[in-house]
Amino acid sequence: MSAIKVFTKGLYAQNPVFKQALGLCPTLAVTNSVQNGIGMGLAATFVLVGSNVLVSLIRKAVPAKIRIPIYIVIIASFVTVVDLSMAGYFPVLHKALGIFVPLIVVNCIILGRAEAFAGKNSVGLSFLDGLGMGLGFTMALLILGTIRELLGNGSFFGVPVTGASFEPMLIMILPPGAFLTIGFVMAFFKWLENRKASHV
């Protein structure tokens, strides 16, 4: 696989949320606004890139038997770095994301990439893989956050856009709205895929 493909596959073809259906818990929980979605996406991207690079660096020294605990220690360390930095420099975002920042540790996308890619590939490729998957995840959260904030709160990035005559659909920023939105968006991507397949 070419280096460019390693990077771009995370964006669409193997998008962690829409195609692999991984990391759905934070995806559903924090996308009630665009800001929260992007914040979570970028935090996870940082952890993903960092852990992918480090796992790849030490892949030859890690005994297969204890690779999972080692990966978890590495991931947890990066997450703690994100958690502390966010609390110090972006307190509003840190408060809004709450428990979901420390929970990045158990985001299966991150352990998944360490196990499926970084443990077997070079540092450069692992970096690109992590970046692509991270940005794909961020993009997915951005799409869901945009739809939910627009319909549920009548705003985009906290700025009111729909005007006073629009009565926001509260359900969209509550948990049921997350399931509804992701269902429709996934169906849309599946439809695109099927259409493409039938044209060939």
């Binding site: 005994p63 590495i74 360390s77 770095v81 930095s85 009111p160 006073a164 509260l170 920023i173």
Partner: protein, 190 residues
């Protein structure tokens, strides 16, 4: 057995390295995190005691724990304007923390919700600022009311609650009444 020691040792080494790195990050970010907490408190105090001088809000402590604050209009702590205290109320999904300012008669002169994690779109509207306005309308209702006699509309009071179930509105309202009671007790003790 030998294998076990080798693997265990390697794991120990990795966790020690990780812990050392994290200790360094903690040391760098700690002053920033404390500073952020202090800023939240300072902003809340200014809103709770709007007529007090920023440098003349004095914490009253007992065993290092802040019981309440005394605010003065002048930096030399002359001209007393009021007390400020933190009210804690159990809401639907979080403890609502509010900084409340009262004058010596118990009249509320200002308040600010410092921390809450209520349901977005429902309970968290206790902090909602309506389009075109500058201050949260729900909290504005408390101004100039007697802190000992607060109640939401459903309980026969004057505070208009934000949504039907009234959980967050009631939690905040009741926490102020309870907090004021504690404040009065502490003041009479000193």
């Amino acid at each position: 057995m030998k294998d076990m020691l080798k693997l265990g040792g390697l794991l120990l080494l990795i966790t020690v390295i990780a812990a050392t790195a994290l200790a360094a990050v903690y040391k760098v970010t700690k002053p920033r995190i404390l500073e952020q907490k202090r800023l939240v408190l300072e902003r809340a105090l200014i809103l709770a005691l709007p007529d007090a001088d920023k440098t003349a809000i004095v914490p009253v402590k007992k065993d290092d724990k802040v019981l309440y604050y005394r605010g003065y209009a002048n930096p030399d702590t002359s001209k007393f304007v009021g007390y400020a205290f933190v009210a804690y109320g159990q809401g639907y999904s979080s403890v609502i923390e509010t900084m409340v300012g009262v004058d010596s008669t118990g009249k509320i002169i200002g308040l600010k919700v410092m921390s809450q994690m209520e349901t977005p779109g429902l309970g968290s509207r206790i902090e909602e600022v309506k389009y075109g306005e500058k201050t949260p309308w729900f909290q504005d209702q408390f101004h100039n009311r007697n802190a000992a006699k607060l109640a939401v509309d459903k309980d026969g009071g004057k505070i208009q609650s934000i949504t039907g179930a009234t959980i967050s509105s009631r939690a905040l309202t009741k926490s102020i009444v309870a907090g004021y009671k504690i404040l009065k007790k502490e003041i009479s003790r000193n």
